[in-house]
Symmetry: none
Subunit: 259 residues, 2 copies
Amino acid sequence: MLDRIRVVLVNTSHPGNIGGTARAMKNMGLSRLVLVEPEDFPSGEAVARASGATDILDAAQVVPTLEDALVGCSLVLGTSARDRRIPWPLLDPRECATTSLQHVQQGGEVALVFGREYAGLTNEELQRCQFHVHIPSNPEFSSLNLATAVQVLAYEVRMAWLAAEGQPTKQEKLETTAMLNSLPVTADELERFYAHLESTLVGIGFLDPAKPRHLMSRLRRLYGRAGVSKLEMNILRGILTETQKAAQGAAYKRSDDDV
Amino acid sequence: MLDRIRVVLVNTSHPGNIGGTARAMKNMGLSRLVLVEPEDFPSGEAVARASGATDILDAAQVVPTLEDALVGCSLVLGTSARDRRIPWPLLDPRECATTSLQHVQQGGEVALVFGREYAGLTNEELQRCQFHVHIPSNPEFSSLNLATAVQVLAYEVRMAWLAAEGQPTKQEKLETTAMLNSLPVTADELERFYAHLESTLVGIGFLDPAKPRHLMSRLRRLYGRAGVSKLEMNILRGILTETQKAAQGAAYKRSDDDV
């Protein structure tokens, strides 16, 4: 089950941190590491700091974009040390772990995303995450070492997993169709929905591309938080398609009026 | 209160781990570091890995024996990765943290003792501890990096401390307007939204009132689960209004066609 929780490191500068991450992951029973544009990898320093967790390094996927790293994920959690202008659903590490575990128990895939050593994740990257995770820390000295931050989250995941192993698994007996429909959508499906939503909102004149303000990020937050199922996604996409047809008809009508 | 919980490192080989420990401690609000016969200290590598937590390194006490390190402590907890021949009272990191915190709340002093990178604490050292602490880990790969192990225990201490202080484990800074906007909508607002949504879906031809099936109940479940805020409700209602305008235009157009 823990193999459906991946750790994603974005633009890591120091290979030692990649090695330290691999070690922390293996210590806690996690195995899937995805590296988005690491500055220096593979690297002897990573192997040294992995201290025997080289199988994690060898199996690590290196990808060019965060989007690639999130393919197949239906729950994306991003670590953040910063105050943000738009408040976002925020979890502490313990809540992050229980949320992640519930999600994989229901058949989903989870990504725990960690940003750059000095700059963290960009706002754009953070907006791809349904939840932000903040490790509670001394406000005057809040920036944790990257591998250490991975350790804290992985530790909480293991604690939650051990607790869950002592309990009966819920919802094993869903019928096949119901099960498929109730699966959470993946990050890429969600992205396609947002693109469709955005073009629809532009189409009906609700969203001005010249002045988008925070509209899309607010809608992302809402739907991200909801954890949309595949069935619900089909409904939402159907609504958008019909809305677009309606809007096109009206635009056609208006252009008639103009003549 | 956290200044009555000291971290004791015994015979540390790598100065980088001392620096990493200082950083992890300061991140979590701990300040007292005691080093029993470190192999290489002070050290530039420790300063580098401390990443700004040099005040902790500067104030670190260096002592010749574990006994010296424990002077004044009324509760001593020793970390252990190994199976021991003599069973000993064993705590997980969370229990370690709550026990430590209760102890300092009652006026005591606590030591969290960490052993050597490769060999841990000796049996004699472990017998000086009232409790042993084990960080749950993969049985096939159980040895954590030293600074990382310090991080896990210090993190749990901070979580317990925040809970005891009545402080939130996460801090969202909302301004007043943002706060009002982020309030959840009331049940009646939600009902008005569903009515508006339903009439809109009928208007765009997505919902057939003669065959409504489960569409509205599925949408209710989705938005109900999301916990829509007042700001988000305004956005959703705005989208519906614009959709209706678009649909009316199109319907008007279609009735023209019919003539």
